[in-house]
């Protein structure tokens, strides 16, 4: 049952990423060129509505579908990891034209070269795990 729900959520997400063209390298390039509102509209409206959803859940102490209390853990305080990690991520996002969600959608759409990006992203994650104690966080 739960597996079906997760799969359904993923399918909805994959269709949204593909059909909104957020999974298109061109849309990412266009966003970083400030030539179109499209990507800003997607991210902006998602987070404005998301913020209202989070606020509402907190305010009314809404329980999950399974009756559990919902908590929103705060992100650890810090600067370096978010700033430098963010810049590194942004460089890759613009070059590959895909962030981790859309990568999976593109694979399903049949763009096989994205497999190179996914494998490299796993390798990049692995490299981080190996060197992370030497990095400022």
């Amino acid at each position: 049952m739960r597996t079906g729900i997760y799969l359904f959520i993923g399918i909805l997400f994959g269709i949204t990423m593909f059909k909104s063209e957020a999974a298109s390298w061109f849309r990412i390039y266009e966003m970083f060129s400030f030539d179109s509102f499209h990507m800003y509209g997607i991210i902006g409206s998602a987070l404005v509505i998301g913020a209202i959803v989070v606020k509402t859940i907190k305010h009314f102490k809404i329980k999950s579908f399974y009756g559990e209390a919902i908590t929103f853990p705060n992100k650890e305080k810090g600067f370096s990891r978010y700033f430098f990690g963010g810049i590194i991520f942004g460089l890759g996002w613009a070059l590959a034209g895909a962030c981790p969600g859309p990568m999976f959608a593109l694979l399903g759409a049949g763009f096989l070269p994205i497999g190179v990006v996914i494998l490299a992203a796993v390798l990049g994650t692995f490299l981080y795990g190996v060197v992370r104690k030497k990095l400022p966080h």
Binding site: L7, I9, T16, S20, R27, S64, A94, L123
Partner: protein, 194 residues
């Protein structure tokens, strides 16, 4: 019924993403796709090389299922909900990309000059060089995404959507970093490599 094949405008896609985040919250989970990359490292035996990968990956099984669904969703979107795979970017962007050598701008979903292995596949001897260059560029792009996402503790879904929705300052710093990196790549590095 032709509307079903049209690309989705931002005011459908954005609320849909918020709805997806809401659904995940309501089943006691969080929205964050790059965590799957860490789980993949753990499954492949990464725990032998770093404690960072020593965790019970089965606790992340749900997220792998979401990722599997995302692959299926991409398939459905491309094969059943689209007639042509053309992304209508603005004329200004098309002109910029043409100057950089991307003739496929405005005619494709992804730049065939970078992604389409079939077009690249050895029609000319010097095309092998392009093929190698593309694998290298896509590989570097993926490497940066994977490394950066874990260093920053999240990607677009984890920080820009989940984190900012919860008004987290660290997520704002990360998103500012995402944009600095993206602008640097597109405006400074692209003219050098394309």
């Amino acid at each position: 019924m032709n509307w079903i094949y049209e690309p989705w405008p931002w005011y459908i896609a954005g609320p849909m993403i918020a709805f997806i985040m809401f659904l995940l919250i309501m089943v006691d989970k969080t929205f964050g796709m790059s965590s799957n990359l860490r789980t993949a490292c753990t499954i492949c035996g990464g725990g032998k090389y770093s404690d960072f990968f020593k965790f019970d990956w089965k606790s992340q099984r749900w997220n792998l299922i979401v990722a599997t669904g995302t692959v299926i969703g991409g398939y459905i979107g491309a094969h059943f909900l689209s007639k042509d795979l053309v992304v209508s970017i603005t004329p200004d962007t098309i002109a910029d990309l043409n100057t950089l050598g991307f003739a496929s701008a405005g005619n494709a979903y992804l730049p065939t000059e970078l992604f389409n292995a079939e077009i690249i596949k050895g029609t000319l001897i010097n095309n092998h060089f392009i093929e190698l260059r593309n694998i290298l560029l896509l590989g570097i792009g993926g490497l940066l995404v994977g490394f950066g996402a874990r260093y920053a503790g999240g990607c677009t879904s984890g920080h820009a959507i989940s984190g900012l929705s919860n008004l987290q300052l660290p997520s704002l710093i990360a998103v500012i970093g995402f944009f600095m990196g993206g602008l640097l790549m597109v405006h400074l590095i692209f003219p050098m490599i394309f």
